[in-house]
């Protein structure tokens, strides 16, 4: 199995979820994160003080999928998260050696 980690722009979350459910992906986990990258942040100022805010709000999506769906899922995310502008984000894939559904004890692909 694979763990697909996608860091995307927050307002694209619903689009990505729709694209994934269209593919039959039944579960995913989302985290609010701050991203640092080529996309520049902004400056906030408070009376005398200025603070450069380098970290921009992003959404991190984690999805564990059977090996054979990797390409499909990546394509779906890319297509739905893309605006073409800097800061669209990244997709990373790592290997998952085991998966388990807590409620039923089902394992691996059956657990997803």
């Amino acid at each position: 199995m694979k763990l697909v980690i996608a860091v995307i722009k927050p307002f694209k979350l619903e689009d990505v979820r729709d694209a994934l459910t269209a593919l039959g992906v039944q579960g995913l986990t989302v985290t609010e994160v701050k991203g640092y990258g080529r996309q520049k942040g902004h400056t906030e100022f408070y009376r005398g003080a200025e603070y450069a805010v380098h970290f921009l709000p992003k959404m991190k999506i984690e999805i564990v999928i059977p090996d054979d769906r990797e390409d499909q899922v990546i394509e779906a995310i890319t297509a739905s998260a893309k605006t073409g502008q800097i800061g669209d984000g990244k997709i990373f894939v790592t290997e998952v050696t085991r998966a388990l559904r807590i409620r039923t004890g089902e394992a691996d692909n059956n657990a997803l």
Binding site: F11, E14, H42, T43, E44, F45, Y46
Partner: protein, 436 residues
Amino acid sequence: MKNKVLLPIGVVFFIAAARPAFADAGTINAADTAWMIAATGLVLMMTIPGLALFYAGLVRKKNILATMAQSLGSVAIVSLLWAGAGYSLAFSGGNAWLGSLDRILLAGIGMDSTNELAKNIPEALFMLYQMTFAVITVALIAGSVADRMKFSAFLLFGAGWLFLVYVPVAHWVWGGGFLGAMGMLDFAGGTVVHLNAGVAGLVAAYLLGPRRGYGTENLAPHDLSLAVIGTGLLWVGWFGFNGGSALSASPRAVMAIASTHFAACAGACVWMALEWWSRGKPSVLGMISGAVAGLGTITPASGYILPWHGAVIGVLAGLVCFWACTVLKERCRYDDSLDVFGIHGLGGALGTMLAGVFATAAISVTADTPNGLPGALEGNWDQLRVQAIGIAVTAVWCGVVSWILLKLIDAMVGLRVGLDEERMGLDVTLHGEAIQ
């Protein structure tokens, strides 16, 4: 101030002022002054922090500060313009269309001057009290354009609108203008404040277009608890808004407060009931929307009616405004973000008509109108015609002038922020700061 006989009285007060009393100017009454200062403070509190909270609680996190900035900006700018010329043009005599220039830059307002319209309190107090009304009217409009209007455009619009719409309408209805002369009833601002703000908001919402993501993205309020705090302060402040419009610490002020309070309660109950019945759950947003609908709607009638009329008006307010916010808006496809038109605009118009229905001679009696001002329920059906004219004149004038003004400002600085700015949120892009 009926009694002009001199009476012995035993005291000249140590501190001042206020009760000289040997001359004509001595009509100022300390008790009324005490109440009207409090009322002025209450109405200011309605805008900051009341309305600032109410609106901020309904927007998304990224726009909270920008929304508050609109209330703050309205206070700062409208107040100064009011002192500069607004008060004079609205409330210092003049003709049927506009006031005079006698009070430009507050000229002539001294310790013992009074306004013809309120001889029992210092003129400076009357000026301040009326100022708080102008302030909140402009601030209300911000709700329609929340989340997408430029701050600069909003301030320009507020400044222009104050002189082109608020000041004339206030003069027409309250300052000795033709609507007041016609006998139109608007105790505390159903047309001058609420209808006016609602219509301007609607026009602005149409011109700006809907928020990005309206109807597709989740635009849910970030923190309704702020809106609840705001509602509480608005509600209490409304005692000053409607009760203060009696301009005296009198039973009439009390009657206005009583009907105001019951209208708010009835509005909240009705909206709650409608949601419970139609969706199975009464929302807090529904309850506060109903309360504010009741408060806005009772405003024009409040000082003319009996307390229980207030409850009836509140029920009608809840029904009409609920329908406006859930059905009408959907159908007409405008994005009046925080429902200024649905709640204040329609509520103000409805209440102005209902003032014509419920006005009760026994309550509305004054020195100038010793027979009181009866409404349709007491047989004076003609009052409804007068009320309707008042509504129509205000709505048309406000709608047309707002539209022109917005078009002008659009040409000058642009009305709406860019798409990226809207997405990042106005707090950061317009004000350079954020709720962490």
